[in-house]
């Protein structure tokens, strides 16, 4: 296996899913965002988004806080320092891979 291809196998499997990567990329630019915003921006269904958020939370990449705004429930998500570090590393790895294969 050549080095670039071997690099592929080292990718973070949690982030190496387009849906989860999109969620993390959105959250990386923000302090926090709620479920509705993430759904609008990612284009995922509610169920699908819930599943991916749960996986990211289990990995410790995001923190989810359930709160209220007035009487309306609000599910706020934010990237943890661990998640930000993993995302930064993933981006670097991706850039290295692209540079090697170009």
């Amino acid at each position: 296996m050549t080095e670039p291809i071997a690099t592929l196998t080292d990718f973070d499997r949690i982030l190496h899913s387009p849906a989860r990567l999109t969620i993390v990329a959105i959250l990386s630019a923000l302090k926090e965002a709620d479920f509705t915003y993430l759904q609008n921006e990612s284009g995922l269904t509610k169920g699908n988004l819930s599943t991916h958020l749960l996986k990211l939370e289990e990995a410790g990449y995001i923190a989810i806080e359930k709160t209220y705004r007035g009487r309306i429930p609000l599910t706020l998500c934010r990237l943890t320092p661990h998640g930000r570090a993993a995302f930064d590393e993933y981006r670097q790895q991706m850039k290295r891979f692209v540079a090697l294969t170009e």
């Binding site: 387009p18 999109t22 302090k31």
Partner: protein, 219 residues
């Protein structure tokens, strides 16, 4: 994939300007400032109006800067976010805020110094002021346009630069040599021009955003 990641981040950062509220608020402050300068210019020296207007100018600049933040927060929390979903941005690090603070303070001092010291005497001060205003606000809109990729912000940058260049031309100001104070008309009209452009652009974008979210495309 790296491009897609970058696009996602860029879109998220640009969301702050997606509803047009920021432009609308900026436009209102620019219009107020322009109106103050237009009234201040022809006011006879020693009159009550001439004494009051500088204080009003400061009030609009300082109050406007604070007011934009308060109005934006209120409108985003009560109008935009309930429709689009709630988003909270990170406060920029102090290091990144320094150029903006420096620019705003410089602009205020430049405007004040120009009016207090240079304006009554020399035409060249007028040219420098218009050049400064054009560069400052032109750069501001170009920076926002680069960050967001919105064409309407690019158009605002173009309108700012064209307005500044046209109003900075000395020909029509020289014609007002009966009262050099009339040179305040230049900056006044400049702020009216960019204020109108910002307000129209912001209002149209806000209308589109409300329509889009009502029809369920976002919400």
């Amino acid at each position: 994939m790296t491009n897609q990641i970058d696009d996602s981040i860029k879109r998220t950062m640009a969301f702050w300007y997606a509803d047009g509220v920021a432009e609308l608020c900026m436009g209102v402050v620019f219009l107020l400032l322009g109106a103050v300068l237009l009234v201040e210019g022809p006011a006879p020296r020693g009159s009550t109006l001439a004494a009051v207007m500088p204080a009003l100018r400061y009030l609009v600049i300082i109050g406007g800067t604070i007011g934009i933040g308060v109005a934006l927060r209120y409108l985003k929390l009560n109008v935009t976010y309930p429709r689009s979903g709630f988003v909270f941005y990170n406060k920029p690090p102090v290091k990144e805020m320094i150029p903006g603070i420096f620019g705003a303070v410089s602009l205020t001092l430049m405007l004040d110094q120009w009016i207090q010291v240079g304006m009554p005497e020399k035409l060249s001060w007028y040219i420098w002021l218009m050049a400064g205003l054009t560069i400052f606000f032109g750069y501001l809109f170009i920076a926002i346009a680069r960050q967001t990729g919105f064409r309407r912000i690019q158009a605002l940058a173009a309108i700012t630069i064209i307005s500044g260049m046209l109003l900075g031309g000395t020909g029509w100001v020289a014609a007002l040599n009966d009262s050099i104070r009339s040179m305040l008309l230049g900056p006044g009209l400049f702020f009216i021009a960019i204020g109108t452009a910002c307000s129209v652009s912001g209002a149209a974008t806000f209308r589109g955003f409300m329509h889009q979210t009502r029809s369920g495309e976002l919400a």
